[in-house]
């Protein structure tokens, strides 16, 4: 497939529709079949069997955020490798695109070492 048509992606839309239909069917079926009894205690959120204390949506440990940011950085680098992995043989007649990737990975590793030295990945 040299050129991709928007119509080629139609099967995925159909898959999504089937999946969403299946889940909604299941949930509505369960809603119709199951019992519907409500009470104050039952509708409360679970917390070790005691009364829920305050709101659950509290400020959260920043380490999780840091991990997510680092993921975004590194994942972009990995995405760069996808076209390279398919095309590294198709060079312009002068060797392969191997040393360029070595250079790329070395730069990446320098950044990685900096992150480790900074202690961004230590959970204390």
């Amino acid at each position: 497939m040299a050129t991709a048509n928007p119509i080629d992606y139609l099967p995925i839309i159909i898959q999504f529709i089937v999946a969403i239909g299946f889940v909604i069917f299941g949930m509505i079926g369960s809603h119709l079949l199951g019992p519907k009894k409500h009470s104050k205690v039952k509708d409360d959120s679970f917390e070790c069997g005691i009364e829920a204390q305050g709101n659950a949506r509290l400020p959260f440990n920043v380490k999780y955020f840091l991990t997510a940011i680092l993921f975004v950085l590194f994942d972009v680098e990995v995405i760069f490798m996808y076209p390279w992995a398919v095309n590294f043989r198709d060079n312009l007649g002068n060797g392969t695109w191997f040393w360029e990737m070595i250079l790329f990975v070395v730069f990446l590793m320098l950044g990685f070492l900096y992150i480790i030295k900074k202690g961004a990945l230590d959970w204390d």
């Binding site: 995925i12 999946a19 369960s30 039952k42 829920a52 709101n55 949506r57 994942d75």
Partner: protein, 362 residues
């Protein structure tokens, strides 16, 4: 050379020509898609029932007990009985929850599973959607799944759910990196992102045998990272029952819970199918380069049997992990990924490239 018996393209072409002789082009396409959708749905449900039964029997086998043995012969109908029970339960939405997101999360998680299943080749010529970016597509789609988990955890308004979802988010995005690198090392060897090309590249032997040590290292990284990716033990921090009750789905009940449960098992199938396709040749029979007679004998075993045999072998391996390794702490989990697996997989990718360039693989 590959024998052409058991080729599913013949079956699909026959259906296609028969439909074309009856109706117009648009209608043919639509009816084919509906057929494929229904087949996927049936497959999805049957697969879940089989995997739930298998999980319980394997656990029982590992712990020297009987497992389900009351409902049906050898407990085979147990999973169906469980589904009926869950269908008859009340799907409760807590008062404090964000109603829309709370009900949308299971839909999203299952829809992602369905979509990720599309490029997988179940047999020779038996793929729903053999797209030229197959591997990239799967890694892109499966990373959307984490949004469903975060959505479920945050909208429940439960501290355990939020903790579980946050852990799961950090874990899934971290292991995404090394799973990507492990997959890329096979893409480097095959030179294509299309799953059927990757399978055809293994005609004279599977990559795990032909790719020397780096391919084996890539496989080990892949199986560790994919276990983490699907939140299975020993990486099941998201639903560590001894500390978080049930993690991100603590507030879910009835069919909504069943959807998360289904998605977990189908995700397990998907990663194992990808592993089987990349490292063990998918539906490709066991071939040894040069031994034509031996290869022809192997071709007589139908391709779906090879595919499902390999996939269920890997699924068994992942179930085995659950009863072998103790659960990791969240900091150990992230240390394992960022300080060990990521550098190793990066260097391993370069090694694989060197092998591919020098032609050192068999």
């Amino acid at each position: 050379m590959l024998l052409t018996i058991y080729d599913f393209t013949r079956l699909t072409t026959a259906i296609h020509t028969w439909l074309t002789s009856k109706m117009g082009d648009t209608l043919v396409m639509l009816s084919e898609m509906v057929m494929v959708g229904l087949c996927t749905l049936t497959f999805f449900v049957v697969l879940c029932l089989i995997l739930v039964y298998m999980e319980r029997k394997v656990s029982a086998f590992m712990q020297i007990r009987m497992g389900p043995n009351r409902v049906g012969p050898w407990g085979t109908v147990q999973a169906i009985a469980d589904t009926v029970k869950l269908l008859l339960k009340e799907g409760l939405t807590p008062d404090g929850a964000d109603k829309l997101l709370f009900n949308f999360a299971p839909i999203l998680v299952v829809a992602i599973c369905f979509a990720a299943m599309a490029p997988i080749a179940f047999g020779k010529g038996l793929a729903i959607w053999d797209i030229n970016i197959g591997v990239l597509y799967i890694s892109a789609i499966s990373s959307v799944g984490v949004i469903g988990i975060l959505m479920a955890g945050w909208s429940s308004n439960n501290k355990y759910s939020l903790l579980g979802a946050m852990r799961s988010g950090a874990q899934i995005v971290s292991y995404e990196l090394s799973i990507g690198m492990a997959v890329l090392s096979i893409v480097v060897l095959s030179g294509s992102l299309k799953l059927s090309d990757i399978i055809m590249a293994q005609e004279s032997g599977w990559w795990i045998f032909r790719g020397h040590i780096p391919a084996i290292i890539a496989f080990i990284i892949f199986i560790i990272a994919s276990t983490a990716e699907i939140n299975r033990a020993p990486f099941d921090m998201a639903e560590a029952e001894s500390e978080l009750t049930a993690g991100f789905h603590a507030e879910y009940s009835g069919m909504k819970f069943a959807m998360f449960f289904l998605a977990e098992y189908v995700n397990m199938f998907i990663v194992c199918a990808i592993g089987a396709t990349l490292f063990f040749g998918g539906w490709m029979p066991f071939h040894i380069g040069g031994l034509v007679a031996f290869n022809n004998v192997m071709d007589f075993i139908p391709s779906p049997i090879w595919f499902f045999g390999k996939t269920f072998g890997l699924i068994f391996l992942i179930m085995w992990f659950r009863w072998t390794f103790p659960r990791l702490r969240i900091d150990q989990l992230l240390t394992l990924e960022w300080k060990f697996l990521l550098p190793i997989s990066m260097i391993n990718l370069l090694l694989v490239t060197l092998i591919a360039i020098m032609g050192w693989y068999f």
